[in-house]
């Protein structure tokens, strides 16, 4: 295994920023650190000769997901000044699960197929498209169906919140908003 300064730098940025994500005291800071982690992941993909994947990573995760998360924080939290504290309970459980996951992934990576010796072949966008929409079409469409189901499920959960007794007690007390359209 050779020492690669580029990879080491990106990996360090990823790990440090990921630590900041979970340790940040403000939700917004955590979200912005997550942006750094996601961008570093994109750089890693680019280093691995997968520019398309890198682009998609930036477009969907940083451009879409992160922006939505920040938007979500801003519309759901009452923001008085810069106060949007990141509260979390169950830090011990989280630590145990994260460590367990890390060990499992490390063992699997270590014992599985050897590292490809030379730089992997660069797949063009056209080749990727052919693979996704021809060879693996069924799997690709099944995935999109799964995502659709997840969206529908989320909508159902949100709409049904009032109907579940006891659920309201767990949610933090929001200022009572008058029903505009009962």
């Amino acid at each position: 295994m050779t020492f690669d300064p580029g990879f080491t730098a990106v990996a360090l940025v990823m790990i440090v920023s990921a630590l900041f994500v979970v340790r940040a005291r403000h939700l917004i800071h955590a979200a912005l650190w997550l942006g750094v982690t996601l961008l570093a992941t994109a750089v890693l993909y680019a280093q691995l000769n997968a520019p398309f994947l890198a682009g998609v990573q930036v477009l969907t995760y940083v451009g879409g997901l992160l922006t939505l998360m920040i938007f979500g924080v801003m519309v759901t939290r009452r923001h008085e000044g810069l106060d949007a504290a990141a509260e979390s309970d169950g830090k011990d459980r989280g630590f145990i699960f994260a460590t367990a996951l890390f060990v499992i992934l490390a063992v699997v990576t270590w014992t599985s197929a050897p590292v490809i010796a030379s730089p992997a072949k660069v797949a063009t966008t056209a080749e990727l498209a052919r693979a996704l929409l021809d060879e693996y079409l069924i799997a690709f469409e099944a995935l999109s169906l799964l995502l659709l189901a997840a969206i529908v499920g989320a909508v159902v959960l949100v709409r049904r919140r009032d109907a579940v007794p006891g659920a309201a007690a767990d949610t933090p007390a929001l200022p009572a908003t008058p029903e505009v359209n009962p």
């Binding site: 398309f52 682009g55 451009g63 922006t67 519309v75 923001h79 063009t124």
Partner: protein, 322 residues
């Protein structure tokens, strides 16, 4: 290390040219706006007031650099340079002529959409970091607007990708040089896609009539409320940079880029880019600002369905005709 040297020199050259263009564009815009309002515009500094941008920068450099006490200091200072960097990063894949192109990526269109999508983060960081209610309101509007208009922008950019069958920006221009500009044929796909792209791009770069995040008559100055001196100037510059580079992208994707008779490719590209740029400013000084809800309605009720229809139409065109 030659690659690195080459890249640094190329990047430095392009950035210098673009920055100079932005300074000239500032002067040009003020002159044009003045003419439209029966005024003279800048006349005093230098011939025809041409040195006015220099005077402006000198003035801004002398201003006090204020950071509000209650601001999030790091984020507050990080936002202005990030905005300018994000706008400049797109220029890497723009083909200014057949040979002048920074990185001819295989997924070039994807790259510029991805970097464009990052553009909202500095705006948000500025709004949040300022810890000012007007700035925060501006930032919230900016995010809502950016998330919405991202969709038609991507859909519009997909039309040339489907019609030419490649995501490489230089290959898209090459195709247009060999066949026909996409805005000319198939015009019923090219023209609406071009208009859609320009509208979404205007919205993404927060220009009038889509400048709701700033909206000086409602929100003081929106996200830039707390910024002074050069930091404010960086925001201002980033806006111009964004418009200029997005004009170049639109010229490359729809107007045939460097292709044209009689003159070198660079001249054609510059003419098309600056023409679009001037058009954007013409619109800016002609139209009023949209209301926030009108902006959203326009996007989701009209632009997104149009975009979906255009993508479908382009796919059908490629399958059955092209």
């Amino acid at each position: 290390m030659t690659d690195f040297t080459h890249g640094a020199l190329y990047g430095g050259g392009i950035i210098t040219v673009i920055m100079t263009l932005v300074a000239l564009a500032l002067w040009g815009e003020r002159k044009m706006a003045a003419r439209m309002q029966s005024r003279l515009g800048p006349t005093l500094v230098g011939p025809f007031g041409l040195l006015q941008p220099v005077a402006d920068v000198l003035k801004l450099l002398q201003k006090e650099d204020i950071v509000p006490d209650e601001a999030d200091r790091v984020l507050f200072n990080l936002a202005p340079p990030l905005g300018a960097i994000g706008a400049l990063a797109v220029a890497a894949v723009v083909p200014f002529s057949a040979s002048i192109i920074g990185a001819d990526l295989d997924a070039g269109v994807l790259y510029l959409l991805a970097i464009g999508a990052l553009g909202v983060l500095p705006v948000f960081i500025a709004g949040w970091g300022s810890n000012n209610k007007f700035a925060l309101l501006g930032a919230m509007r900016a995010i809502a607007q950016s998330v919405s208009y991202e969709v038609p922008l991507v859909l519009a950019a997909l039309v040339p990708v489907i019609l030419t069958g490649t995501m490489k920006v230089s290959a898209i221009v090459e195709y247009q040089a060999q066949h026909h500009w996409l805005i000319a044929w198939p015009f019923f796909l090219g023209v609406p896609a071009f208009v859609l792209f320009m509208l979404a791009m205007l919205a993404e770069s927060n220009r009038i009539p889509f400048d709701i995040p700033e909206a000086e008559s409602e929100l003081v100055a929106g996200i830039t409320t707390e910024y002074t001196g050069m930091k404010f100037a960086l925001f201002y510059m980033a806006e111009y940079l964004h418009t200029l580079i997005a004009s170049a992208v639109a010229a490359a994707l729809f107007l045939g880029g460097w292709d044209g008779p009689f003159a070198p490719g660079l001249h054609w590209m510059a003419a098309k880019t600056l023409g679009l740029f001037a058009f954007v400013y013409w619109v800016r000084w002609t139209l009023l600002r949209f209301r926030s809800d009108q902006l959203m309605a326009l996007c989701w009720r009209w632009l997104v369905p149009t975009g979906v229809a255009l993508v479908l139409g382009a796919a059908l065109w490629v399958v059955f005709v092209g």
